[in-house]
């Protein structure tokens, strides 16, 4: 560390007791900051919708990408954990979907696909995946999307 940095570190250490936990963690508690940041986020989301619809259906919005990633992680963690019930799984999916502004998640093609990807991450075998697909109903589009997600999970 250069002398300037050392001085700053020393200053910080010296004032730590004055601030306790607040000194090196961010709590955006100013309403004006939260308000401005939130409005900017919505504005960014509108821009992403315009960009996405302008460049064809293959370009997901950041919210869609994030929903897919979250659901994939959830499905993988849930599949690897012991003793979760079907209701708990569905509640988890609903919670993640609502966090992304979706209440009717069964109508979103991303949902089954991301679940399939997550089950692949959890190392579900082909036989186990087949059983899952049969359980959902093999002829349903959601089952096929889940299978597609399992077969082609991406990197």
């Amino acid at each position: 560390m250069n002398p300037r940095r050392t001085l700053l570190a020393a200053a910080l250490i010296a004032v730590l007791p004055l601030f306790g936990c607040k000194i090196i963690t961010a709590i955006i508690e100013l309403p004006s900051d939260i308000s401005a940041g939130s409005s900017k986020s919505i504005s960014g989301s509108f821009d992403a919708i315009s960009t996405s619809s302008g460049s064809g259906p293959e370009e997901p919005t950041p919210n869609q990408t994030s929903y897919r990633r979250d659901l994939r992680q959830f499905a993988a963690v849930f599949a690897l954990s012991q003793g979760g019930t079907r209701e708990e799984f569905l509640r988890g999916v609903a919670r993640i979907a609502e966090d992304h502004g979706v209440s009717h998640w069964e109508a979103e093609p991303i949902t089954p696909r991301a679940i399939g990807e997550g089950l692949r991450d959890a190392n579900l075998s082909e036989a186990e995946m087949e059983a899952f697909v049969n359980d959902v109903g093999r002829d349903k589009p959601a089952a096929q999307l889940a299978l597609e997600g399992w077969r082609n999970p991406g990197s």
């Binding site: 560390m1 300037r4 940095r5 001085l7 700053l8 200053a11 910080l12 250490i13 730590l16 004055l18 607040k22 000194i23 090196i24 963690t25 961010a26 709590i27 955006i28 508690e29 309403p31 004006s32 900051d33 939260i34 308000s35 940041g37 939130s38 409005s39 900017k40 986020s41 919505i42 504005s43 960014g44 989301s45 509108f46 919708i49 619809s53 919005t61 950041p62 919210n63 994030s66 929903y67 990633r69 994939r72 992680q73 959830f74 963690v77 569905l90 509640r91 988890g92 993640i96 609502e98 966090d99 992304h100 502004g101 979706v102 209440s103 009717h104 069964e106 109508a107 979103e108 990197s155």
Partner: protein
């Protein structure tokens, strides 16, 4: 020298705007007074920012946002210069890092949801034990039992079919009876879900209309007539909500009651929009916001600008969302959020933080529903529920409670990044080295961590991102060079860019853009702070001590300046959009 600095700043501005979106990097946020006065750090990946905030009773929670919102809060309003160390990594590495943060986010959100459900259990058992009405259920207040046979709702009922709705109601009533008779306190969530399904079926069968209190009543200046494109979008949206109701009636989701009520309410709002040729949107904040908002200490012009910005955002949203070929639910929800902001005169913080990557607020106006009495030993059930809640609180504390040196915004950020990779060898291949600063004394301090990132990780370049003040100073000096301009802009009370705010502490001279003169400026600020404190003490009977506090803080933040260290930089309540 000054010209060189300005040239460097202009180059930095250009770089900041040209920052590639598909890269991975660590962001260092410099210090300023207030929260995170020791600085902050974040990970940026593909234009998304991940960082940890001490947000919920000392829990360190992951926050995700788009770069533009993060930049606005930290570099513009908080006026902190940023630095971004971009890593030379493959897109796969970037994706893996983001998945690791997604995992942390999901784990935290689900554990918090579990705690909320257990809190509800306690509230419900307390109500049952005291023979009081049970707490409101989300979504139940969107529709009004006192407004039956609404023509649009009746049309929806005919579309679905009364027989299937009667079956749905009967099945839900049976489930409610079974659950209350069994009196299993661990199945209260299932009871709440069944009550909501029953209510949704009742609302459909009775063709209940919208509850007027669930609607975001827009002020006249934001209530423009619908355009042809918007009408077409709303027709499509109303039809999609009718399909959603039909699908949810057939669904086997145990928790579909809320989604059903929401789809009904949205369908009614869309049909009313088309009938009145004015956009009718549900209030997305009602059940998430406190009954009365904490008043803000901002100038009247800031409030006015916020109102104007919110109205402009609604116009932008209407164009983006309703003009789409297919109106998607998540996108339509954004419009509801903006209407809720307009309704609250531009206060986008009314229901907590919003983000580009989740943290959405769905309309969920609540209402208490009648439930049969809950069987069993309610005293024992309540004791058990309180124990489960306390155990869940402990689980949250153990995993994510804030600890100054061992678990803070730096250590958890670094560990989550490292968790994306299998071990040291893989980390080395992916990033050049582990991000965790365990090998560095004071590695938990943001700038020490950032120095280590620059030294140990495979950094391709470091991009400075100027603060709002730096950017504006560059503009002002370019437009009006000269010693007088410099003198004017060097003090808080004559600056044309900055307006003194008490939360920034009382100070006279900016010290962030000088180095050798900093101790001398620090002395001036120290004496100014002392003087301001004296004035604050005199004003104590009138202002509750806010000026005295600002004066004392002014003294305190002047001390580091005596040793060449700058922390205080000033901040802003509102800045005109670019």
């Amino acid at each position: 020298m000054r010209r060189l600095a300005l040239a460097a700043l202009c180059a930095a501005l250009a770089l900041a705007d040209a920052r590639a979106d598909d890269e991975l990097g660590f962001v260092y946020v410099t210090s300023n007074v207030g929260e995170a006065s020791g600085g902050h750090a974040a990970l940026v990946a593909d234009g998304s920012v991940y960082h940890l905030q001490n947000a919920d009773a000392d829990l360190l929670l992951l926050v995700r946002d788009g770069w533009s919102a993060f930049h606005l809060v930290y570099a513009v309003l908080e006026n902190r210069p940023l630095a971004v160390a971009l890593l030379d990594v493959t897109p796969e590495v970037t994706e893996r890092a983001q998945r690791s943060f997604a995992r942390l986010y999901v784990e935290q959100q689900l554990e918090l949801a579990k705690r909320e459900s257990l809190r509800d259990d306690v509230r419900w058992l307390e109500a049952f034990a005291a023979d009081r009405p049970t707490p409101p259920l989300r979504g139940a207040g969107l529709l009004a039992p006192g407004a039956p046979e609404d023509p649009d709702a009746a049309r929806l009922r005919d579309l679905i079919g009364s027989d299937s709705l009667a079956e749905l109601r009967a099945a839900a009533e049976r489930a409610v009876d079974e659950l209350t008779r069994a009196g299993d306190p661990t199945r209260l969530e299932a009871l709440r879900e069944s009550l909501l399904v029953r209510e949704a079926a009742r609302a459909l069968l009775g063709a209940w209309g919208l509850d007027p209190r669930a609607v975001a009543q827009l002020p006249a200046d934001a209530d423009e007539p619908l355009t042809e494109a918007e009408r077409a979008g709303l027709e499509e949206w109303a039809a999609s909500q009718e399909r959603a109701v039909a699908e949810l009636v057939r669904s086997s989701r145990p928790d579909r009651g809320y989604a059903l009520l929401l789809a009904q309410a949205r369908q009614l709002a869309a049909r009313r929009s088309l009938a009145t040729n004015r956009l009718v949107l549900l209030d997305a904040f009602e059940s998430h916001a406190p009954e009365s908002l904490e008043p803000e200490d901002v100038a009247d012009f800031v409030r006015q600008k916020r109102r104007e910005d919110a109205a402009a955002l609604l116009r932008k949203g209407r164009r983006s969302v309703l003009a789409s070929v297919q109106v998607e639910e998540a996108n339509f929800n954004l419009l509801e959020e903006v209407a809720s902001i307009v309704l609250r005169e531009g206060r986008a913080d009314a229901a907590g933080m919003l983000s580009e990557l989740g943290m959405r607020k769905l309309p969920a106006r609540g209402r208490g529903l009648e439930s049969p009495p809950f069987s069993g030993d309610l005293g024992a059930a309540l004791a058990g529920a309180r124990e489960r809640l306390s155990a869940q609180d402990e689980t949250l504390r153990k995993r994510w409670s804030y600890e100054l040196m061992t678990r803070n915004c730096i250590t958890l950020l670094a560990r989550t990044t490292d968790d994306a990779f299998g071990g040291e060898a893989e980390l080395e291949r992916a990033l050049g080295a582990a991000a965790s600063p365990d090998d560095r004394t004071f590695g938990f301090i943001p700038f020490v961590f950032f120095d280590r990132v620059r030294e140990r990780l495979r950094v391709s370049r470091v991009e400075p991102v100027p603060s709002h003040m730096q950017k504006e100073l560059a503009r002002v000096f370019a437009e009006s060079p000269g010693a007088l301009t410099r003198a004017r802009e060097s003090t808080a009370y004559t600056s044309t860019i900055y307006q003194p705010l008490l939360r920034d502490s009382a100070f006279l001279l900016f010290t962030d853009d000088v180095f050798w003169r900093r101790p001398a400026y620090g002395f001036v600020n120290l004496f100014f702070g002392l003087g301001f404190t004296t004035y604050g003490v005199a004003a104590l009977p009138f202002d509750g001590g806010v000026r005295a506090k600002a004066g004392l803080e002014g003294v305190m933040w002047s001390v580091p300046e005596l040793a060449f260290v700058n922390v205080r930089k000033g901040s802003f309540d509102w800045v005109a959009p670019d």
